[in-house]
């Protein structure tokens, strides 16, 4: 049985199937596909009844149309959807209506005089359908298959995870499925200001690469024990050369590089202690056999921040066939200063934030313990929740995460507090929901 309805998720005007208002005798709908973003369609509606019944139906349709157009034009109200079901289990799929109008069919005046009317509901919608919201089980070493909020630490080492794992077996989708993520600050007395989330997505036969590199595992500098740091230690480098100098390096093994498959990552360097140099620049350089293969743009190391975000880079940087393993490469951290003074940097770790899906939120209002940030890719909204109330707390630079069909996903988190520090001891709680997305019903 085909079911069609127009509504906002709470109230529905049924066009076909059960609950059809009296006077509406039929609806014909043939879904089409569009350009990948939107598609223009029509539903032909047959109306029959007293003039009062027909007019009431037309009024109800026009009201929904006005709500659709007003939301699209002015952002007022809530989005309206076409709800469709065509299977015996009555599984509903939804598609966002962006613009709509009513058009009379041919000879409508003659039919109207006979007590019936044919009209087309002409509309533009998103070029896909999405299922109902489903809680997505999340796993890491803080819990397995958790849907009620999984703890995520602000670093990854032998005892902590800064990611959640999504099992492909828990996903039923044809197209990449939109996520609704709810991130709640779980740090006592802590704050969440800026937040980055990156996803590494891989099929069941693959394994994710190493994405976090401890400072103390790098070549160069001196290891310093510090229980507050990721891995319980940081790397201290001291140098006085004017100009660019290699400070540290990490070997990216052939296995790890091969697993990256040329994907983009956003490197974020966490400092164990803030520095005080106004003129310090850093950059990342990839070498193989001493030959430079990639040289990132110089990035100013803002002394106000406890981290440095480098330009995104692909690993391996140039395209390879993937028939053989990628050759191991060495990732160097370079520093540049305009004098021969002695500089010291305390480096905790380097996070390669994956970018198969990626979001970044700049904090306007810090999240206190218990406050949440919601990114709902279905509605396209990003907002905070403070004390049970909604508030615009963050500026979304990139938003709207999704997960691929038939893929596992690792969602990696990195965030800072109100003081611009990325404290490894901080924690958040993450809930995720997804909606099955398909183009053809």
């Amino acid at each position: 049985m085909i079911s069609l309805a127009l509504g906002n998720g709470l109230t529905w005007l049924s066009l076909a199937g059960s609950g059809v208002p009296s006077g509406l005798i039929g609806a014909v709908y043939d879904p089409k596909t569009g350009d990948g973003r939107t598609v223009g369609e029509r539903i032909t509606l047959g109306l029959r009844g007293t003039p009062a019944q027909v007019n009431e139906l037309l009024a109800r349709l026009e009201e929904k149309i006005a709500l659709v157009n007003r939301h699209t034009r002015e952002g007022v109200g809530t989005p309206l959807y076409l709800r469709v079901s065509c299977d015996p289990e009555v599984t509903y799929y939804y598609t966002h209506i962006l613009q709509a109008s009513l058009e009379p069919k041919a000879n409508s005046l003659a039919y109207t005089s006979g007590g019936s009317l044919g009209v087309d509901l002409v509309f533009t919608r998103a070029d896909h359908f999405e299922g109902g919201q489903v809680a997505l089980p999340l796993s890491n070493r803080n819990g397995v298959g958790v849907t009620g909020g999984l703890t995520v630490n602000n670093h990854a080492d032998s005892g902590h995870d800064n990611f959640v794992f999504v099992d492909a077996d828990d996903l039923q989708t044809e197209l990449p499925a939109t996520l609704r993520l709810e991130v709640t600050n779980a740090t006592v007395g802590g704050t969440v200001r800026d937040l980055w989330i990156g996803a590494f997505q891989y099929d069941r036969l693959s394994v994710p690469p190493q994405l976090a590199y401890e400072g103390e595992s790098a070549t160069g500098g001196t290891d310093v024990s510090d229980a507050a740091c990721s891995g319980g230690a940081f790397k201290q480098v001291n140098w006085s050369d004017e100009g660019w100098a290699s400070l540290l390096s990490w070997t990216l093994s052939a296995t790890n590089l091969s697993r990256c498959q040329g994907r983009a990552s956003l490197p974020i360097l966490r400092l164990a202690n803030a520095h005080a140099y106004e003129d310090l620049q850093l950059k990342l350089v990839l070498k193989a056999g001493g030959i430079i293969l990639y040289e990132g743009a110089p990035t100013w190391a803002d002394p106000q921040l406890g981290y440095v975000v480098f330009p995104a880079l692909r690993l391996p940087p140039a395209s390879l066939s993937g028939v053989l393993s990628a050759q191991a490469q060495v990732l160097h951290l370079y520093g540049n200063k305009p004098n021969s003074d002695s500089y010291t940097l305390d480096l905790d770790d380097l996070q390669l934030l994956p970018q198969d899906a990626f979001s970044h939120y700049q904090g306007l209002v810090n999240l206190a313990q218990g406050d949440s940030l919601v990114d709902d890719a279905f509605s396209g909204l990003v907002y905070g929740i403070q004390g049970g109330y909604e508030l615009s707390t963050h500026i979304p630079i990139c938003k709207g995460l999704h997960v691929f069909a038939e893929n596992n996903a690792r969602l990696v988190f990195f965030w800072t507090n109100a003081d611009g520090e990325a404290l490894p001891g901080d924690a958040i709680s993450v809930r995720a929901y997804y909606r099955r997305r398909k183009r053809v019903l």
Binding site: E295, A312, Q362
Partner: protein, 485 residues
């Protein structure tokens, strides 16, 4: 896929307008990096109140991000325009002027030229507090002072704040809302500079001559000057001829002041052989100082002109002077050895002279930037340019124009200088790379790769780089990215 964020005018974060912006085009140049961006909101995507709300964001920082969360373009909102039926309405910072001055020539009888004069600056402090200082210098001729002040005050009253400008469209009107953003380097157009450290001169028509070294009563001639800025005197020119055949050199010393006369203490001197001095006319004769003579701002010194030999009534020098006394920056004195003192000439006059200083253009860039910048966080000139020029402008120019003028002089080894405003708004000036060293590459589809053949991230362009194409190698001075949607 690019996204857009606004910052507050104080460079902090702010709540976003909540509109779906579409980045249409971004442009970068070697003369400032981010140059211009055009952003639209298609018809139907904005509400009636949105244009006014966006107009309230003029001069707010704008950043464009790529899908990797990397800032690729940054600057400020310069104008907002939208269609209302057949009319185009625009709010723009372009015509805004909240600090105005009028430079004018005074009224003069027919056939004569008036004197150049200028009003003081008139300021609208309310507008300046909101947008920053945006200067306008109006040039007029044939005004009296009162009229010049009226022109100035009218311009300030009309230009202090952005006003809606309405124009009728020739074609069918659209319904999109269009934002134009400019790179921060354009904010250097907002203020004027007039470097004066490069020259002090008195060059009116010659009116009078003065013997030099004819007798002991005209053994030395001296003209005092007081630099308005620190000055490194490289050369002094005077109008000089010889009488007879003097065998000794003409000489100029820069001497310190001692109670209003030359002290006898030389800071530096320069000689010119008599063979280089003509016997006809009064050509400009150049004396070059090596090393340059450093004179601090506001310090009075004396240019002491003499000869290296003894006086002679047959073989001596004659200097051109100005008895109209047009120069008001110093005094003229003659050393009379007979009475062993410096005396005033009768009639009094000023020496005709040109004192010029040169300075590394990199240092000049720093100085000009310090005078004309208000929004950038700093400036870094990586190394000296190796080019010296005279830091002097006879009339004010925008800081932007002066920076570009100096930039375009390049380096001493004939390489280009390129300027980039970094995301943290620091103006960085460095030398363009040499062709063949770390060239970037463009393929047949127009995709760019860096020197290591790594494909560039979206929105990263090779401006200021040599790019190898199938047809050769070219230097990319500017690049536009038209974003397809």
């Amino acid at each position: 896929m690019f996204t857009l964020t606004f910052g507050s005018r104080e460079f902090g974060r702010m709540t976003q307008p909540g509109l779906e912006f579409t980045v249409q085009e971004m442009r970068w140049t070697v003369e400032g990096g981010c140059d211009r961006a055009v952003i639209t909101i298609p018809g139907g995507g904005w509400r009636a109140e949105d244009p006014a709300n966006l107009a309230n964001l003029l001069r707010c920082p704008v950043t464009v991000w790529n899908e990797h969360g990397q800032a690729v373009w940054w600057g400020y909102l310069n104008s907002v325009a939208w269609d209302e039926g057949v009319y185009r309405v625009a709010h723009s910072l372009d015509p805004v002027a909240n600090r105005v001055m009028v430079r004018y020539t005074t009224l003069a009888p027919a056939g004569q030229v008036g004197e150049v004069s200028q009003t003081g600056w008139a300021d609208d402090l309310q507008s300046q507090a909101l947008f920053g200082v945006k200067e306008l210098i109006i040039e007029r001729s044939g005004l009296d002072e009162e009229a010049a002040l009226q022109v100035r005050d009218m311009a300030l009253a009309e230009g202090a704040f952005p006003r809606a400008r309405v124009s009728r469209q020739t074609g069918a009107g659209g319904d999109s809302l269009r934002l134009e953003c400019l790179g921060w380097v354009h904010s250097l157009k907002w203020r004027h500079v007039q470097p004066l450290a490069g020259m002090i001169a008195n060059t009116p028509p010659q009116l009078g001559t003065q013997n030099l070294g004819n007798t002991y009563s005209d053994l030395w001639l001296a003209q005092s000057i007081t630099p308005l800025e620190d000055m490194a005197i490289r050369q002094v020119e005077v109008r000089l001829r010889k009488v007879g055949s003097p065998a000794d050199d003409a000489r100029i010393q820069v001497q310190t002041d001692n109670n209003g006369v030359p002290s006898g203490t030389s800071l530096g001197q320069a000689l010119v052989s008599p063979a280089a001095v003509t016997s006809e006319g009064y050509p400009w004769l150049r004396f070059e100082f090596d090393p340059a003579v450093e004179v601090a701002q506001g310090t009075q010194v004396w240019l002491v002109l003499g000869r290296s030999g003894q006086p002679s009534q047959v073989n001596f020098y004659l200097a051109g002077v100005d008895e109209s006394m047009a120069f008001d920056g110093g005094a003229f004195r003659i050393y009379n050895h007979a009475v062993t003192s410096w005396v005033a000439r009768s009639p009094d006059c000023d020496l005709l002279f040109r004192v010029t200083a040169t300075r590394d253009t990199g240092e000049q860039l720093q100085a000009v930037f310090a005078l004309g910048n208000q929004f950038l966080s700093g400036m870094v000139v990586e190394g000296e340019t190796g080019v010296e020029s005279v830091p002097y402008l006879s009339r004010p120019a925008t800081c932007h124009a002066e920076v570009l003028r100096l930039l375009r002089m390049g380096t001493g080894d004939q390489r280009r200088l390129i300027a980039t405003v970094s995301q943290d708004r620091c103006l960085v000036i460095n030398t363009a790379p040499v062709a063949g060293e770390a060239d970037w590459v463009v393929d047949m589809e127009g995709r760019y790769y860096d020197a290591r053949h790594n494909r560039l991230m979206p929105g990263i362009v090779p401006v200021g780089r040599w790019v190898r194409t199938y047809g050769g190698v070219r230097f990319v001075e500017k690049e536009s990215m038209v974003v397809s949607h």
